[in-house]
């Protein structure tokens, strides 16, 4: 499936804004992305498997907070960032 990568994480994807990934759940997809782009997962997901505060993950336009969310090959996953403060 196609995964959109936000600018802060493109240092891991050779500057690519869209990458391919696989997995039957969001957790599996993130592990697959980390295999392809080592280190990318920990910058988004902490060691207790919580999505970091300024990272948002959307599946087909709907925000997902549960890493157990099931995915299909046709799903479109967007990873976005929202930073506040100066």
């Amino acid at each position: 499936m196609t995964v959109s990568i936000p600018t802060p994480l493109r240092s891991y994807t050779q500057k690519r804004a869209q990458v391919e990934g696989e997995g039957s759940t969001l957790a599996e997809l993130l592990c697959d992305l980390d295999r392809r782009y080592p280190g990318i997962r920990f910058r988004m997901i902490d060691e207790q498997d919580a999505i970091r505060r300024h990272i948002r993950i959307f599946v087909n336009g709907e925000q997902v907070r549960d890493l157990g969310r099931a995915l299909n090959a046709s799903d479109e996953v967007q990873i976005l960032q929202a930073l506040s403060g100066g």
Binding site: P6, P8, L9, P38, G39, F42, R43, M44, I45, D46, E47, Q48, D49, A50, R52, H54, I55, Q81, A82, L83, S84, G85
Partner: protein, 403 residues
């Protein structure tokens, strides 16, 4: 009740030194500057008068600490995160020309079912390990965690003896209290005589200085004599706020700390802090963040006082910037303000943001929360500004690079 102080005689006796005392012989100084928006490297010329700027590195990253490994003179670790992204460590073995990210950055263990998990928010402090353990480093984090690498910073493991100590929650206290940017584990010190002998400091809802004699397997508080103005019992066993603790590299029995409640010194095997800041001018006080030791003389230390009166503005006292030095283990202090602004200077020098090189005379360096970098290459007798308009400076470290 005022605590009893240490034996005054001990300060005047000749200190056993760890190895022969000598000044650094040649080469140049590299300053490593960590800021709220990236890292910069400043290379001096041989006279330490002119500086070449290399940076920014990691522009936009929050860099709490950048440290060069004095054991090999080439490994550089940077503790970084961004507003969005989790904490990590970047490594360079060519003084910043190329960087690699740690493949396993410091992280707490996964919590057991029903247990409240901890997640590292940022890596706050980096300390190279003992000379006999070449690729070992320690990291201190927020919230309070101690981590160790044995491969030069590539993979990090929790120091279980601290992070899962039965007293951890009592020692670290209320997670919501403490420093605005989160509670910190800092001032990780390794005894140059013994890799198993460690100290650390914590500032947060709890805190204090802690000591291990078994390489971190067990820890004990080391806070007797150190005051807590902010607790009902002003002399508790732990809970103090040691802003910065230093151990003298040539006389490792000598410890100094700049605490939230004064400047202290301890000489082991004593286990009681003596408040040497009582000898600072009363109008200035003895509150600040950093304390810097002379690389060869264990009786000399520098501090950078801040205003800890009324509502704690934590800026230069009366807007007049100054360092203070003691040359006699804290009996007397001298103001060092030549070249520094003496009106309307409202900055703060944070705990990692002041340091010394190993030259003779010693060069002192500090960075301000207003983004200025200052040097006093004659032991602070006169200061000059070597960079302005950097972001908010968190850390300044000096390293000797062989000529």
């Amino acid at each position: 009740m005022k605590p009893t102080t240490g034996n005054g005689k001990s300060r005047t006796r000749r200190l056993a030194t760890h190895r022969p005392t000598r000044a650094h012989d040649g080469g140049y100084v590299l300053l490593l500057v960590g800021t709220r928006k990236g890292a910069w490297l400043f290379h001096s010329d041989a006279s330490r008068k002119r500086w070449r700027i290399d940076g920014p590195h990691f522009l936009g990253h929050i860099v709490h600490h950048a440290v060069l490994d004095r054991r090999d003179g080439e490994t550089l670790l940077v503790a970084a995160k961004t507003g969005h992204l989790g904490p990590t460590v970047f490594r360079s073995t060519d003084i910043g020309k190329t960087w690699k990210e740690a493949s396993k950055p410091p992280a707490f263990r996964k919590a057991a079912e029903g247990e409240k998990g901890r997640a590292v928010d940022h890596v706050f402090w980096l300390t190279p390990g003992h000379a006999s353990e070449p690729n070992t480093w320690y990291a201190g984090t927020s919230p309070e965690g101690l981590f160790r690498t044995e491969d030069g910073g590539n993979t990090w493991e929790p120091v279980v003896g601290f992070n899962d100590h039965s007293m951890y929650r009592k020692w670290t206290g209320d997670e919501q209290a403490g420093t605005p940017d989160g509670p910190k584990l800092h001032s990780i010190l390794v005894d140059p005589r013994d890799p198993a002998h460690l100290y650390l400091g914590m500032s947060g809802g709890g805190g204090g200085v802690f000591e291990s004699v078994d390489k971190g397997a067990d820890w004990k508080p080391l806070n007797a004599g150190c005051r807590c103005d902010f607790l009902p019992d002003p002399y508790p066993e732990f809970g103090q706020d040691p802003h910065c603790v230093q151990l003298h590299p040539l006389a490792p029995d000598v410890l100094y700390q700049q605490n939230h409640c004064g400047i202290y010194r301890m000489e082991r095997p004593q286990a009681r802090w003596e408040r040497i800041g009582e000898n600072m001018p009363k109008a200035v006080g003895d509150i600040g963040f950093p304390i810097v030791l002379h690389p060869r003389d264990p009786n000399t230390a520098w501090v950078f006082p801040m205003d800890g009166s009324t509502v704690w503005p934590r800026v230069s006292v009366n807007g007049k910037a100054a360092a203070y030095v003691t040359r006699n283990a804290g009996k007397t202090w001298k103001r060092l303000d030549a070249g520094l602004p003496q009106e309307q200077a409202w900055f703060t020098v944070l705990r990692q943001a002041m340091t010394a090189d190993a030259h003779d005379p010693v060069g002192l360096y500090f960075g301000t929360t207003t983004g200025d970098l200052w040097a006093g290459t004659n032991e602070g007798a006169k200061w000059s500004c070597i960079a302005r308009h950097l972001p908010h400076i968190y850390s300044v470290e000096a390293a000797e690079i062989s000529g």
